[in-house]
């Protein structure tokens, strides 16, 4: 089985998620090559061929150009699967490749099973097992679902060039809004989810964070509702974190949130609903009312 991994590179930097692709390929037991629009000064540690297009020439992500590069390599390599991360890059590009190759795409894989690929559905509440019915398959994998490959090996680099006309023109990046907290550096994060009920309850969660010497985190709905500033948002659209202790208070566990925190060392979830998806990743699930349990825990800690 041959796989083509599509690495990610943005603004002169190789993204760490690239190593998850390698980890996935390892689990799949596939012989893999990689395609990267990047620069030879920042190549991943990888034992295999890297087809490298120079980002200095190609510019930042242009889907038409990247699709064209992938199709060229697919033509050379004839891989069984083409693997992307399920990120803004992957979910944008993968279906374009699948369409061009007229092959199946399986999105946001969380596990590999004997019957096919396991993917989340119904807001992470359920799972599907999906099989491809075409010879070649495009895959996207969920961030954080697969082990990160050890950073070892030396790639064999093959340079690529191509030119396309595109109807899409990249204009530029807008930086994330200024952060007043750097959750990535926190040892403890206590996160407020929709289950805290209302804005006035957020200080209760903050008090627990303070008692543990940690930072306040927030789920997307809480940020969207304006209860907590965006800089505290944990998840794929906020910050991806891996503290020593992560306490999720009233967070049901939307997939984007889980992806952003599941690598934490120890996860405690406090939720009224025993069946909330957050339970999947929690080391400890406390079935209780957040507004009763959290103040009691804070009081005990002080």
């Amino acid at each position: 089985m041959k796989s083509l991994l599509i690495g990610e590179y943005r603004e002169g930097r190789l993204l760490d998620t690239t190593y998850e692709l390698i980890g996935f390929a390892g689990q799949l037991g596939a012989e893999s090559a990689m395609l990267l629009v990047g620069s030879d000064s920042q190549l991943p540690a990888f034992n295999g061929t890297i087809y490298l297009a120079d980002a200095g020439v190609c510019g930042e992500y242009n889907p038409d150009l990247h699709k064209q590069l992938i199709l060229e390599v697919v033509g050379k390599l004839n891989p069984d699967c083409i693997v992307f991360m399920h990120t803004s890059y992957g979910w944008d590009l993968a279906p374009r490749v699948a369409a061009a190759l007229k092959c199946a795409q399986i999105s946001e894989i969380v596990a590999i099973t004997d019957n096919g690929f396991e993917v989340g559905c119904c807001n992470a509440k359920m799972r599907r097992t999906v099989r491809s019915a075409t010879g070649r398959t495009v895959l996207t994998i969920q961030a954080g679902a697969f082990p990160v490959a050890g950073r070892e090996g030396t790639p064999c680099v093959e340079q690529l060039t191509t030119a396309v006309t595109s109807t899409l023109e990249f204009v530029g990046y807008e930086p994330a809004e200024a952060k007043d907290v750097d959750l990535a550096k926190a040892d403890v994060i206590v996160t407020a989810g929709r289950g805290v009920g209302k804005k006035e309850n957020v200080p209760v969660i903050q008090a627990l964070a303070k008692a543990l010497g940690g930072e306040l985190g927030a789920s997307r709905p809480v940020v969207d509702a304006g209860w907590v500033d965006h800089s505290h948002q944990v998840g794929t659209t906020g910050q991806t974190v891996s503290p020593k202790l992560y306490i999720a208070c009233g967070v049901s566990g939307a997939i984007q949130h889980l992806a952003g925190m599941k690598k934490s060392d120890f996860i405690v979830a406090i939720n009224k609903d025993k069946d909330a998806p957050i339970g999947e990743v929690a080391d400890l699930l406390v079935v209780a009312d957040v507004m009763q349990f959290v103040p009691a825990l804070t009081a005990k800690l002080q």
Partner: protein
């Protein structure tokens, strides 16, 4: 010598014609003044408030003579009433004199004003004048020296006080002058029947007859001129309330309290829903501004106003009138302000106390209907979410509709869809179905019913929100969608009686659903339990030691449905010793959750629930009992955030009863 007096003494009968002509002219000015206001009222939409004519006349006369609503607030109300009766007596006395002098004497040659009747007549009028004068003084002191908070004093007030003082004082001066020259000399015994006049007469005693006669003439004409001025001022000053407020006694809504017009959703010619402009309201809504006396009682009792929200029911009434008068095309939401419009809890405290029978809540609903149905606006994003949840899952929490009946698992309750026969349909409502705290109330209620041998049926997952909160927020469309589904369902099961544990469901199913075709008796559980106890189907074990408790009248049970005594009786039978809060019964203070506010965050001012909790704390009872899931929720919250934990516990009446049911 017979007790009587000469009318037109010192003035002469020659004055009769000019006097009547001038009076007629003054009345003409009065009528003209109101006539000119008619186009203002006509800006509003038509509304029939002349049906059931006799009933209306009776109510108006009762209101007018009884002045009961004015007396409900002692401060201001009592002196106003005494003044009113005094002044009215003087007015009637003047009419009697007029009839005697200008009709009975010249036409029939009969004199009624003589003998014992005249003595009584003199005494009554004299005292009436005294009472009016003293009360006017009291009101003057209140307005200009005590200055109660929120009382707005305008130029009208000084004009009115001057006119009335002038009329009363000159009246006594005329009497004093006449008595000094006649009664004091000729019939000193008779003078005792005019004790106040006698005092005024002393002022004139030192003077000679011609001076008395001259000053009498002057005072008579000044008095007459002031009376004419009074007539003329009525339509142009706050005095107009004499006419408009009285008229409002006739124009009261006669349908059950809390009735909101049901919009016909089939009518495709309607292009405007709710009130964006004054012309979208009814003429009565504009007229109410004229009937308002700015007594500010509504404002004093408004839970939103007293906790710092930008709503004053009084200001709202006035703003509508002013807009009609000055800028009839102005956008009302801008004039009044969306925050004020959304702040109302529809608790009806304003409307209940209004001595002018003004209708505040209906105006708010119309303003909200415009915001909701025409602009798709919400008081906050949390309400937008809750409304979305209601549309999809039939409950504001967004919980799976299929789990609505799960609270009843293992309880003696039948699902209506099973087809088994039941005595009552328990319409559970969203809070008792889904909210953990309120599920205890639902459980308590069915436990009580089981003990009384009542077979209870529920709709389970088929039940939907009754639609009350969204209706009060103006979303008539969603309300009717939810209502129609519930009505079809209930009709389909041939239900004979519905009981609710929620006063909001009770109001909605029992009154509002009638407009949409549901005609099944609906009762709130507090009266239902009261009935069961009375019929001895339910027996309670009053605890050996009675317990102290304070009872909160929910707005929608007390003020809206007049259920005040029954829950108290049940509570007492269960061993409760009720310590009333300062505001109870019809004067109860809202918990904050009415009017759809249950779905909204309270972002402005202080918390209404905390204000109410502190009133409960003042009774020093350790237990607060309510009868409404919204109240229970709000007080649980208010006790926590208001720092009353450990001092006060809130429970529902059903929970208290369930613990004391004799098997």
């Amino acid at each position: 010598m017979e007790a009587t007096r000469e009318i037109y003494w010192n003035i002469g009968h020659g004055v009769v014609l000019p006097m009547y002509l001038l009076t007629l002219a003054a009345v003409g000015v009065l009528v003209w003044g109101f006539w000119k206001r008619l186009p203002l009222y006509r800006l509003g939409k038509p509304l029939d408030r002349c049906d059931r004519y006799e009933e209306r006349v009776n109510r108006m006369i009762g209101d007018l003579l009884g002045q009961e609503k004015v007396a409900r607030v002692r401060d201001g109300g009592l002196p106003h009433n005494l003044f009113f009766w005094g002044f009215l007596t003087l007015f009637v006395g003047t009419l009697i004199i007029m009839v005697q002098a200008d009709f009975l004497t010249p036409v029939a040659g009969v004199n009624l004003l003589k003998g014992e009747f005249y003595k009584a007549f003199s005494l009554v009028l004299d005292l009436a004048g005294l009472v009016a004068l003293v009360m006017l003084g009291a009101l003057f002191v209140r307005r200009y020296f005590v200055r109660p908070e929120g009382l707005e004093t305008v130029n009208d007030d000084i004009v009115i006080h001057t006119l009335l003082f002038g009329i009363l004082l000159t009246g006594f001066l005329i009497e004093g002058a006449r008595m000094a020259a006649t009664e004091l000399v000729q019939q000193p015994d008779l003078a005792s029947f005019s004790p106040v006049g006698k005092v005024f007469a002393q002022l004139f005693v030192p003077f000679d007859t011609s001076s008395i006669s001259a000053s009498h003439k002057v005072f008579w004409w000044v008095h007459f001129a002031l009376v004419l001025g009074f007539f003329c001022a009525i339509p142009y000053t706050k005095l107009r309330h004499i006419v408009t407020t009285s008229a409002n006694g006739f124009l009261v809504p006669l349908e059950p309290k809390g009735t909101i017009p049901t919009i016909n959703m089939e009518d495709e010619t309607v292009e405007q829903f709710g009130a964006a402009k004054v012309s979208d309201l009814t003429w009565k809504d504009i007229f109410d501004a004229d009937a308002c006396t700015t007594c500010k009682r509504c404002q004093d009792r408004c839970p939103a106003h007293v906790t710092g929200k930008p709503l004053s029911p009084m200001k709202l009434i006035k703003q509508i009138g002013e807009t009609a008068e000055t800028t009839p095309d102005a956008a009302l939401p801008e004039v009044i302000g969306a925050d004020a419009i959304w702040a109302c809890t529809t608790c009806r405290a304003c409307q209940d106390i209004c001595p002018a029978n003004n209708e505040h809540v209906g105006k708010i609903i119309e303003l909200r209907r415009n915001l909701t149905l025409m602009e798709g606006a919400f008081p906050g994003d949390e309400v937008r979410g809750a409304v979305g949840n209601l549309e999809v899952n039939g409950n504001p929490f967004g919980l799976a509709y299929a789990s609505r009946g799960e609270w009843a698992e293992g309880l003696p309750v039948t699902l209506m869809e099973s087809g088994a026969e039941v005595d009552i349909l328990y319409f559970v409502g969203c809070y008792a179905s889904f909210d953990k705290r309120n599920r205890e109330v639902a459980t308590s209620f069915v436990t009580i019913c089981a003990a009384a041998g009542i077979r209870v049926g529920i709709l389970g997952k088929e039940e939907k929100c009754c639609g009350e909160p969204v209706r009060k927020l103006g979303n008539e469309y969603l309300y009717q969608m939810l209502a129609q589904e519930n009505i079809e369902l209930i009709k389909g099961y041939g239900v004979k009686k519905i009981i609710t544990t929620c006063p909001h469901c009770f109001n909605t199913l029992g009154r509002d659903y009638r407009d949409l075709g549901l005609d099944v008796p609906v009762e709130h559980y507090s009266t239902f339990l009261h009935g069961l106890i009375k019929e001895e189907k339910l027996r309670l074990t009053a605890e050996a030691a009675p317990f102290d408790v304070t009872y909160h009248d929910s707005c929608y049970l007390g003020r809206y449905m007049d259920v005040i005594e029954e829950p108290r009786s049940v509570l007492t039978k269960a061993g409760g010793r009720i310590r009333e809060m300062a505001k109870s019964g019809y004067d109860s203070f809202c918990c904050s959750a009415g009017g759809g506010r249950i779905l909204a965050e309270e972002k402005i001012g202080t918390k209404i629930s905390e204000a109410r909790v502190s009133m409960a704390l003042e009774t020093e009872a350790p237990l607060l009992v309510s009868n409404c899931p919204f109240c229970l929720t709000m007080f649980e919250d208010g006790i926590k955030t208001g720092g009353a934990e450990g001092k006060l516990v809130v429970r529902d009446l059903a929970e208290i009863v369930a613990e004391r049911v004799k098997a």
